[in-house]
Amino acid sequence: MYKRFPASSYMEYVILFIFIILIFSIFKLQIIEGEKYKNIAEKNIVRIQTIYPTRGEIYDRKYRPIVLNKPSYNLYIIPGKITEKESVSEFVSDYFDKGIDEIMKIIHENRYRSYQEILLIQDIPFEKMTIISEQLNYYPSLLFKAEKVRKYFYANHFTGYTGRITEDEYEKLRNEGYSINSNIGKTGLEKYYEDILRGENGQQVLQVDAGGNNLEFFKHNLQTSPQNGDDLILTIDNDLQEYVSSIFPKNKKGSIVVMNIKTGGILAYVSKPDFDPNLFTGGISAKQWDNIITDPNKPMLDRVIHGTYPPGSVYKPIMASLGLEEKVIDSKTKLAKCDGGMWFGNRYFKCWYAKGHGRLAVENAIKYSCDVFFYDLSTRFTLEQLNEYNTLNHLSTRTGIDLPGERKGFFPTRKWYIDNYGKFVGILGHKVNLSIGQGEILVTPLQICAYYSAIGNDGVWKQPHLLDKRIEAENTYKNIVEEKHLPMSDKTLKLIQNSLYKIVNERYGTGTAASVSGIKVYGKTGSAENHMGKKTHSWFSGYAKCDKFEIGFNVFIENGGHGGSVSAPIAQKFISYYYGIIE
């Protein structure tokens, strides 16, 4: 009942036509031009080469180098050209500090990247390279390349270091231009500013045969240029950094930070013990890594932002300002009498000064660092009030410094005590302890430095930072930092500043060891008891003003002893040094 559709036979002709075209094209490609393509294939003539950008360098505030790129010879292997895995691994391990299995493992991991060059050894001395080069005829899979590696000018914790990309990182970042041989920022500024420092890859098509003739498969767009990374100019002052590092007590642990109170820019950033980031540039050997990791002094730990400690007495100004702001006390109010301590219920809380301070008003309580005054003060507040005020002063929150992995610190809440000590925990005793910066409270030395700098900057808290500006190809970008106000009135601020001045500059002050003639030094000592050792953590925090500079600082020595006798003299040294060198 339907008619036939003669048009339906057109597909047969189309299919026949297509078949003939394809057979003809294959004939042309494989038989007529077969030899030409065989030649191209054998010699790998046509391929894409990635052109890697130069990583941005890092300088101090006076454009003196901190991290530079230096030329280096690197050894690569091409898995697809390996004739015998064992012999090539043995050859390489003979010359370098790498085991045969380590090299076999690299080959195995990269077995699918058969035509790619895989980085084996970085930063090979020139003499060694020439010796090995003579034998490379026997190992066609190996080749040398002249490239660049990082050179770090001094041991420190803020630059961090770069290292070979790991398999996991590569899987995540392969679409962002990283190759399996890329170096990537692992810690510190190298990691934090990775995107800026790295730049962008370029590419190049190679299509020149052995006779030097251009094959001309592609006529245009044969190259995209790489974009080099931006250089970073830091706020660090290399002179001060090196000086502070050199006066740090030998064989002690701890950290010293100095910052510009007007800008928040960090001038010196020292954590001890430290390590040489150059160890990592050539790919650290398993043994070296093991040494660093098992060292009980933890040289890799950045004690400025990764270590958290009880602040001890340097916390007292915060308690004092809370009392003044909440009008619980005024400048004349005298609290409980100190006879070397004070009873709370059935427990006696000692003052550090066994003979007792008597009854003090707030200014002298800070000056003499009387514990009893603050014990008594804390009883007028709830734990939640203490916690909230602590946070308002930017403690137990990250300062936002431009470094990865900054710790927050800690201030307990009622819930925390109940969860950890049970329902019937006595909050009062803990509160009393917290008021002098002891107990569960933990801060980073940087948080304390930022707080004291803010006091010195008339209550304006500046985000601590290391980057001043970055030099782009066309422009210079100035780093923009956050600023906040400390939660206190001018009157309270003046009182605190006054007390800090008396500590350093009046008789019987706890910090007189830090006084420098001609400079107004303000500061507070702290000797925090802790579970890490018998001796107290030694703190000295404050700021110094003169016609040349206004700097905030924090000196922290782990189990160093008393703040006034250990940390304050160190502050005295670098303040006078800085006064001497600054123009």
Binding site: S8, M11, E12, G34, V46, S114, F218
Partner: protein, 402 residues
């Protein structure tokens, strides 16, 4: 009379088997004297089994069930095509749903159900020419626009091939086909006023010979002239990257770091295969991993490199027999709707076959279309086998409706 087309079925199995062997060698890498395999061929084998089950299920499914499902599934597919645009990009476009280990392209499903929908709509009796044109155009244009947005120009083009192949066998007078193609040619010829004028005059002459009335011819002439004028303006208003995308689609060699590079590497691999090839698993270009996609879009380069001219000819002959046998058999289908479906399916498989191998040989511009039944890819295989299953079903049942 019920007769199952064993030859088509047998060739289908043979093609999938060749596919498995090719994927096996494409997923191997040689290091020193050792071979290392990734598991693509195992996954593909599982998909072959699943596809065969679906095929048998399809043969047993009553026609009524398929008929009822056509429009609902078509609508769902359109919704999926909309949804996929809002998903994050994979490899620079919004084509895929990522369901755990399986990547599913809704445009695959859209192809099959667009064919079914067009065929059903235009095979109803007593339709005017205008109705046939309007219905088939609307059903095709909606998915095409969505697929262009992904963007996937290659697949979008496939839809026009499908539409055109069906309209050729429909009752539509042939001059309509000229009318359909004419705007496309106008756009192509818009680069030169003289070529366009010659083209326009020949078009008018041909339509005149078909005895079309002067009003219609005049209308066509105006439309085409309008397109000639508007195309350069439209082109200049495109963003740089959009222009680049279209130019690279037409000439992949513009992109030495992407499509162009892959095509050159494919040509080197196939060309270096020579007469006899380098032998199973022994392709040097394949082993050097120059082509990242050599188990999918560029699988023919592996066949060409390892099996040489003889292997390629043998492979193309089998593929040719398969397509040719289908083309010959479906002429016997007497129910219009089924004929249209079969022609549409055959046309798109033939088209993809041609485009994919042509691209591997560097004679066809576009990229991004897999080789049906051979390339690695589960959802693609499933849809293609189901489509052949439909043809087998119609062939088997043709006598009932005769």
């Amino acid at each position: 009379m019920k007769k199952f087309e064993w030859m088509i079925f047998g060739l289908l199995i043979l093609l999938m088997f060749i596919g498995l062997i090719s994927i096996y060698t494409a997923s191997s890498t040689k290091i020193g004297d050792d071979f290392i395999f990734s598991n693509y061929y195992i996954k593909q084998f599982i998909w072959v089994i699943i596809s065969m089950l679906i095929l048998f299920l399809l043969l047993k499914t009553p026609n009524a069930v398929i008929e009822i499902s056509i429009f609902p599934v078509y609508i769902i597919t359109i919704l999926l095509l909309i949804l996929v645009l809002f998903l994050p990009e994979i490899k620079g476009s919004h084509r895929w749903f990522s369901l755990g280990p399986v990547n599913f392209q809704p445009s695959e499903l859209a192809k099959l159900f667009t064919i079914l929908a067009i065929s059903k709509l235009i095979s109803k009796p007593f339709l005017s020419d205008g109705q046939i044109l309007l219905r088939s155009f609307i059903v095709t244009t909606v998915p095409v626009i969505l697929i262009i947005l992904e963007p996937d120009l290659g697949t979008a083009l496939t839809f026009f091939v499908i539409l055109f192949s069906i309209l050729i066998v429909s009752d539509l007078p042939k001059f309509y086909l000229i009318l359909i193609i004419s705007p496309i040619l106008s756009i192509v010829f818009s680069f030169s006023i003289w070529i366009f004028i010659i083209y326009l005059l020949s078009l008018i002459y041909i339509l005149y010979r078909y005895n079309l009335d002067k009003v219609t011819i005049g209308f066509v002439a105006v439309i085409n002239t309008f397109l000639f004028i508007i195309t350069p303006i439209f082109w200049n208003n495109l963003k740089d990257y959009q222009q680049n995308r279209i130019l690279t689609f037409i000439n992949p060699m513009r992109d030495p770091f992407g499509a162009g590079y892959q095509i050159i590497q494919s040509k080197i691999a196939i060309g270096s295969g020579g007469i006899f090839g380098k032998g199973f698993l022994l392709g040097t270009q394949k082993n050097l991993n120059f082509l990242p996609e050599h188990h999918t879009d560029f699988i023919f380069s592996v066949i060409g490199e390892e099996f040489g001219f003889f292997g390629c000819t043998f492979f193309l002959l089998i593929y040719f027999l398969f397509l040719y046998k289908i083309a010959k058999s479906i002429r016997k289908i007497k129910r219009k709707e089924y004929l249209f479906v079969s022609v549409g399916i055959l046309a798109y498989i033939t088209f993809q076959f041609f485009i994919n191998i042509g691209m591997n040989l560097g004679i066809v511009p576009t990229t991004g279309i897999p080789l049906p039944f051979i390339s690695y890819g589960g959802s693609n295989l499933l849809i293609n086998v189901s489509a052949i299953g439909l043809i087998l079903k119609y062939l088997k049942e043709r006598s009932i409706f005769a």
